[in-house]
Each structure stands twice: as structure tokens, then as C-alpha cells.
């Protein structure tokens, strides 16, 4: 259910670290709680993000939710496909529904994130 190879924030973002690039999205739990996602607002490539800063917004029919950067660094790519097909965040949150690729400013920041077991416990509490 909760991918074992990712790290998580308390705000339900996931991050996959490959070398010095981190791919970021929101978890299946977050997408399910939001409901049908109809709009995603992401920063432009080149934007500088601090860890845990808001980087955008995801909106369902009913709700608006801020997005928080799991790690700091420079945005190298934003998922442009989400502008036309935001529903992919619901259908494939850990795959095609990814949101940002960030060049890690400090790999040690990953240590401040939840591991899969800790995130699973967080979701179970909710």
C-alpha cells in the first residue's frame, strides 16, 4: 500500500531520491482524502525551494490544499502533463502523478523525513 522505497512528510508528500535528484508527489492517502483532483499549480523550473516551504497547490472539486517541499533545492522539472490531466494524481499518485524533480541542496535533509513505517503509522492514526 505505502511504497517502501520512498520517504514521506507529515503533510502527505512523498519523495524518491535518485542520485542528487528528488522526485516529489503526494501520497495515495492524500489524493484519496482530497477526492477528484481538478487543478495542480506547480512552480517553474529554476525556482529555489527551501525544505518544507509551500511549493504549490492541489485542488479537488471541493478542497484546496497546499503542497510542501519534502526537500530543499532547485526545481529542475515540473510535471507539465498535470495541467491537462490533473486526475492522474488520483489514478497514479506514485507514478505518472509525480509533481516536481528537485536538485537536492543537502542530501542530509532526507533524514528529517518519515520512513515508510512512520508514515504508515501516521495514516493509521488519521
Amino acid at each position: 500500500m505505502i511504497p517502501a522505497d520512498l520517504r514521506y512528510t507529515k503533510e502527505h508528500e512523498w519523495v524518491r531520491v535518485e542520485g542528487d535528484v528528488a522526485t516529489v508527489g503526494i501520497t495515495a492517502h492524500a489524493a484519496d482524502q482530497l477526492g477528484d483532483i481538478v487543478f495542480v499549480e506547480l512552480p517553474e523550473p529554476g525556482a529555489a525551494l527551501a525544505q518544507f516551504a509551500t511549493f504549490g497547490v492541489v485542488e479537488s472539486v471541493k478542497a484546496v490544499s497546499d503542497l510542501f517541499a519534502p526537500v530543499g533545492g532547485e526545481v529542475v522539472e515540473a510535471n507539465a502533463a498535470l495541467a491537462a490531466a490533473p486526475e492522474v494524481v488520483n489514478s497514479d499518485p506514485y507514478g505518472a502523478g509525480w509533481m516536481l524533480r528537485i536538485r537536492l541542496a543537502d542530501p542530509a535533509q532526507v533524514d528529517a523525513l518519515l520512513d515508510p513505517a512512520a508514515y504508515e503509522a501516521l495514516v493509521a492514526e488519521a
Binding site: 499549480e41 472539486v61 471541493k62
Partner: protein, 367 residues
Amino acid sequence: MTDEPRSTPLTGRHEALGARMVDFAGWRMPIQYTGILEEHRAVRERAGLFDLCHMGELFVDGPDAGDALAHAVTTDPRSLTVGRAQYSMICAPDGGVLDDLIIYRLAGDRYLVVANASNAATVSDALAERFEGRRAVLDDRSLATALIAIQGPAARGIFAPLTFVDLDTIRYYGIGEGTVAGVPALVARTGYTGEDGFEVFVDAAAGTTIWDALVDAGRSAGLAPVGLGARDTLRLEAGMPLYGNELDRETTPFDAGLGRVVKLAKEGGFVGSDALAKAAEAGPRKRLVGLVVRGRGIARHGHPVWAADRRTGAVTSGTMSPTLGVPIAMAYVAPGDAAPGTMLDVEIRDARAAAEVVPLPFYTRTR
């Protein structure tokens, strides 16, 4: 609301269906079952089933029932023929809207007033006070009544076999008495979705009987249970106001473009008539408009609306329209900015998105 939220007679059905439940106006209500978009489309394309047991049902009886109601609300229910309904409002003495209502004439001296759940107690109290000295009895059956709606192009076909009421004799905004699934019921052809459909009033104890019968009858036609989430997007596309968004104590019916429900000339006057006569003469202070966002983003309740660098108003309701696929909103703006085709800006977070004033409703059914 400090009390525990009330369950409706159908709460168990919603939970069994896996609905996401929320507290709304003191009630535990389903916000969605499978998803707002899917439920919304079911109503537009087939049919949807709604638990509206939270609404207020206020029966008015007595030889002066019509006069008493006419004194209490902005319309003249005495003008209704038996079996017909009207959209109405109840206002404070200063002309501010206390609630919007549907008033059904059930018999010569018997009416049914349906109020929003959030205002049911306010309306009940106001009616009781305004009836004082008149030969009219208010019977607040809000908790004793189950209200279930079936809405959508397939609604009539699903519903007709369950009732001996001849649905052809009940036109839009009509009501009839009969049985549904063997249960004594009032059947009204009203709704809040922009589709054809029916609302069924029965004793609370019979709520599950009606719900189950409709679920069974609608299974092959694709009838879907619909929560409050899609109810809101459906009514917004249909350009229908929601109390708390488009209507409130600070708004007159004229502001909302609903001056047609204010019968200033009716015999005997009514609570709020002096203030509303002045408001009618002065003209509206603001106008309710439809907006389609042409820029990026979704306009939401409370977002400021700008005409160039002048703040002209605020969004009252907004969503991504499931039917049209574009962000739509209703907003109050200055009267001079209300003409269709006017380009305005909606302030969405820290940016501005272009929005065009369009005529309401956004959606009109074609069948």
C-alpha cells in the same frame, strides 16, 4: 453547534455504502460515496439519489394559514393553486434574507414550507412569532419527516413504477399526495440540480423503505447515491443560490437578482416590506453574476474580484465545473460590472486570473 450531530434515518445506508460522512448544519451527512465527479455525472446523464432528511419541513394549517404565511414571507402563497409550489424568501425586518424557501400549497388552508437545514430552527421560530394572533398553526415536522430526492433524466422512468401518483399530472413545481412503495407520501417535482426529478416526503420511519425501493428500481438504470459535494456542484452549474454563500442576512433578494420573489404590492404587507420597498427604489447595491475563469486557477468562496485596480466584489461560490470542464463561479460585483462579456479579475492566492461575466445559469438541461 455544540450538540452531537444528528443521524438521519438513512445514515446506516450511507455508512454501508462506504460514504465519507461530514457534520453539516448539525447533521451527520454523506459528502460523497464514490467521488464527486462520478456522482455529478450520474445525475446529469442518468439519475442520482439524495438524502435530504436534514432539511426543515414546516406544515402550516388553519383558516388564516395563507394570510399568516403571506405576512411572514416575501411571496404571496395565497396566489398558489392547490398542488403548486413557489420559491420564496423569509426576510428580517431590515430586508436581509433569513432563508430561501419552497412553499407548497397542499390544500386550501394547508401549506408545507421547506427550509434549509442550517436555518430550519430560525425559520420555525420566525414563523411561529409572525403567526401570533392569526388562526394558523405551525407544525414543525423537520425531525419527523424523511425527504429523499431522485434527480436526473432517468428519474421519472425509475420512479413512476413505484407510485400510483400520476406523474404526468405533477408538472415542475407541482406536488401531489399518494403512496410510494406502499408508503403514504408527498411527491413534489422540485429539486436543486437543474435536472428533472422528484422529492418524496414521508414519515421518518419510512425513510429506509423509500430509499431501498428507489435503489432497487434504479439499479439497471444506473441510479447512483449522491452526496452533498455533488449536490453543491450541481446547483452551482444550475445557477441556484446557496444560503450562506449567495444569500445571507446582509443580502436582500434584490441584490441576488431575485426581486421577483418580493411581492411588495400584496395585501396586508409583510415583515421586511418597508425596508425592501426602499431597497427596490434605491436599486441593488451589488449584483450576483456568473463568472467563467479564463486564466489559471479555480475561483473559490471569498476570493476578491477586481475590475482593473478597483475591487468590485467577491466570489460567493466557485468550483471546476464537472459538466463544462472550466472553472465557474458566482460572485457579487458592483452593478456597473455585471454585464455579460465584462472582463474582470479574480484574486486567487497571490495572483490574478482573468474571468468573464456570463449569464446564469451555466447549465440548462436539454432533455
